[in-house]
Symmetry: C2
Subunit: 339 residues, 2 copies
Amino acid sequence: MIIGNPKEVGLNFDRFNFLLVIGTTDVSLIPGITVAGATPELTHFTPAADAEYLVKGRCEVIRGVPVTPNGIPTPALLTRASLSLTKGIVGVAVSGARVKPRSIPFIDLGGEPGKDIRKYSMDRQVVRQLLDKAVTLGEAMDVGSTLILAESIPGGTTTAMATLAALGYNSLGRMSSTSPQNPKSLKEGVVRLALRDLPQDTLGKLAKVSDPVLLALAGIAAGFKGKSVLAGGTQMVAAAAVLKELFGKRAVIATTKWILDDKSADMLGLASEVGVEVLASHVDLNRSRYEGLKFYERGYVKEGVGAGGAMLAALSSGFKEEEVLNRMDQEYELLIAKS
Amino acid sequence: MIIGNPKEVGLNFDRFNFLLVIGTTDVSLIPGITVAGATPELTHFTPAADAEYLVKGRCEVIRGVPVTPNGIPTPALLTRASLSLTKGIVGVAVSGARVKPRSIPFIDLGGEPGKDIRKYSMDRQVVRQLLDKAVTLGEAMDVGSTLILAESIPGGTTTAMATLAALGYNSLGRMSSTSPQNPKSLKEGVVRLALRDLPQDTLGKLAKVSDPVLLALAGIAAGFKGKSVLAGGTQMVAAAAVLKELFGKRAVIATTKWILDDKSADMLGLASEVGVEVLASHVDLNRSRYEGLKFYERGYVKEGVGAGGAMLAALSSGFKEEEVLNRMDQEYELLIAKS
């Protein structure tokens, strides 16, 4: 199911590049803030593992694939399955990651890993260079292909919340979460601490409270001359806000129905305040053969690694929901067979 | 002028990716072996500087742009000027470089810098991983676009000579050089030392005498499902030989007329022994307004950074030799204005 009309916003997926931007922040080490990894420490391996799994179907930086503490697999599974049906070209960019992929080539954007935003700031000069490189990368991408930009950065909804707040949006209490029990008060406490003594200028604000992936996404989208789509949840609203603030450019977001259904968040309200269009896609995982995937229908994980955008691309390319579902089940089967 | 028929070998440049693969070896530190840098030490900065200049028109890792000891500018100038006329997409991959670009994004292929092949070998495991990543990168490139693969690795004709010799070709005395005074006996002495105690297996041989750029080029070309062209001089014959040996795949080379005219080398003879087609392009730099460019017509530099392939792409896209020449003169003018 597709919610919204890709053609109406000028998107088509006859030819597209899918670029996963990965990075880490030390926010993800705060216990309870994210479930994008089996333990807080393992969250630093999740983005590199997501990237390896997306490209090769297996990980080298960790055993198995990234899972939540209760064993639900990374949304990269949905992304990989969906993209495997299409002719899309998959690439990975690393922007400020403590752990980098080992088994795959990737575009190195430099940057530094995001900080524990309660206490520390990224270096302003490094942030500026990262933005420059991201713009250069965007300029170098094929204008004849739609560019789907995706993310993997555990703790990313918290830095996104702080970023939106720093840019003047009322984001507290409105961001989604990988967990069905959105740890809102924990996140908001982190954001409130991060917002104290905020620099006056935009670059200083972003260095203090945002993360290297948000910045890279905004820069790449700014440099790209063709049609791009930010594939993700409420985090992508923050990327769109940075894109608007720094480059005066508008964005389109592709997300999942699971994000729109998230009662603990307000994706559409936030998007409307930033002035960004939202499309969503859905494959009914209640019909999956595997319990691990059915959890997605109960509010677990919801989005990440551009799952919504990848499903949108597959469904827009003429594949039926059932075909996409079958590929997801096959991918799940392969995981089980390997473990 | 185009020598050969691109269409006959299945090449068209309506849509293409130009990927510059850069790396270094410690061979370039041997005094006299290369002029791809103002001093032996600076040769390690040349590839990163070439990449930055190609993408952005200026370098960050060095002042100015790479020049020979007598001040002739890098062939990246010819490449940049030619590509600027086309719709080609330019990217950079780093494969075993001591110095990496600072101001641009690049694809990181890992690998380790090449050794002084007289004494040391690359690590076999690292070589294997590099080949794997290069294949993965090739698989990820747009099959609908022609892929032009270029190189910048000072001392590369020496490792290429050793590689061809190790694979059983009679390469001694037949490789070209950046210098009009091809330092043949120096190169051959290095190669003879490198070939002592050569391992029996292909991977071991390549780890001992080749370089990370040759390996990456072969791997990318192997993984790529569309049409690719190796853009360079006699080095690319070695890349083609590795491609044939490891992957059983044939290649097409695009070079310059300056290489074909090189009496100190035997590009066509070598290419025929390896079984690779050769195309060449030419823009008459005697008609340039600048002495620095006219030197190319006197056998200086000759090729590098895919200059021959880039000129071929521009000329094949319908641009006249004069238009390409004018863009080169403009680029030269910009260099002078900046310095």
